[in-house]
Symmetry: C2
Subunit: 140 residues, 2 copies
DNA sequence: GTAACTGCAAAATATTTGCATCCTT
DNA sequence: AAGGATGCAAATATTTTGCAGTTAC
């Protein structure tokens, strides 16, 4: 398995176990975000349901993954492309959900715009989920 | 009970029942968004769990309420301040979640900013959740 | 009167916890 | 060897479904 994977785990003081490596690998080799079910029912794999819960939770706590809230109450998880590898988590993302293929991407390189708020409101964190059609699906 | 309430129900071809009136009233007399649990465990009320599920679902289908995805996987429901009363639902909201009081508000009057996307991506709908401190909590 | 809605019970899902065993360090 | 992680079983919590009785129109 990829060297990056055990590096990430070690850097976050998580012991390097098979499940963690495999699950982290899914995220590294996948463009999109994944939900719990996507991981548990991954073809050719047999992850224990509870291990998946605990692994995802650990990864979120360490800032390896972050959650993306979706309207249908199914939380998705994604790696950040940049900062998260350094261990410090930045929360201002744009997430893109393709309504054709269902893929959820984390657009870290796209700047979040300024949002105007009512008087005296303070913004700490802005979460943006854009729904639309991705490049791939547009062509088909 | 408020006349508006039965009006809204009738306009949406929902029969005017006690639960629906009471639940809709909660939203009309409340500033913030409400989760299923907020309604079910409302002090002084005793709503059947299933009725709450079905009522919320009906209201969302009719466009009386819309859902707000939250990071902790608990869906909140809110009235739109403007259009929804006319029955046609517009989806581009800014939602504000106060990290002190926990209230979730729907800022319909605040324009959503343009978001830059990768080449060939098409945006249909933009969902923005701003986390911060509201006017009220700021003062305390 | 009829169709729609409610509320209870029960089924189906999803999530959390406890614990003995196994693996990493 | 010690602490942490896994995986099974079981406890909880959440959501959905079926249906008989009730209510709105």
């Amino acid at each position: 398995m990829d060297n990056r994977i055990s590096d990430i785990l070690r850097r976050n003081r998580l012991s390097v176990t098979e499940s963690r490596q495999k699950i982290l690998n899914l995220f590294l080799s996948n463009t999109g975000a994944l939900a719990h079910a996507d991981i548990e029912h991954k073809a050719g794999e047999r992850f224990d349901r509870v291990t998946v819960y605990r692994t995802l939770q650990a990864f979120v706590e360490k800032g390896i993954l972050h959650t993306i809230p979706t309207a249908d109450n199914s939380i998705k998880y994604a790696l950040c492309k940049n900062d998260c590898f350094e261990g410090h988590h930045h929360d201002n993302h744009i997430h893109f959900v393709c309504s054709k293929c269902g893929k959820t991407e984390c657009l870290d390189d796209f700047i979040i715009p300024a949002v105007k708020l009512p008087k005296n409101y303070i913004a700490n964190n802005i979460e943006i989920v854009v729904n639309g059609v991705c490049n791939n699906c547009r062509k088909n």
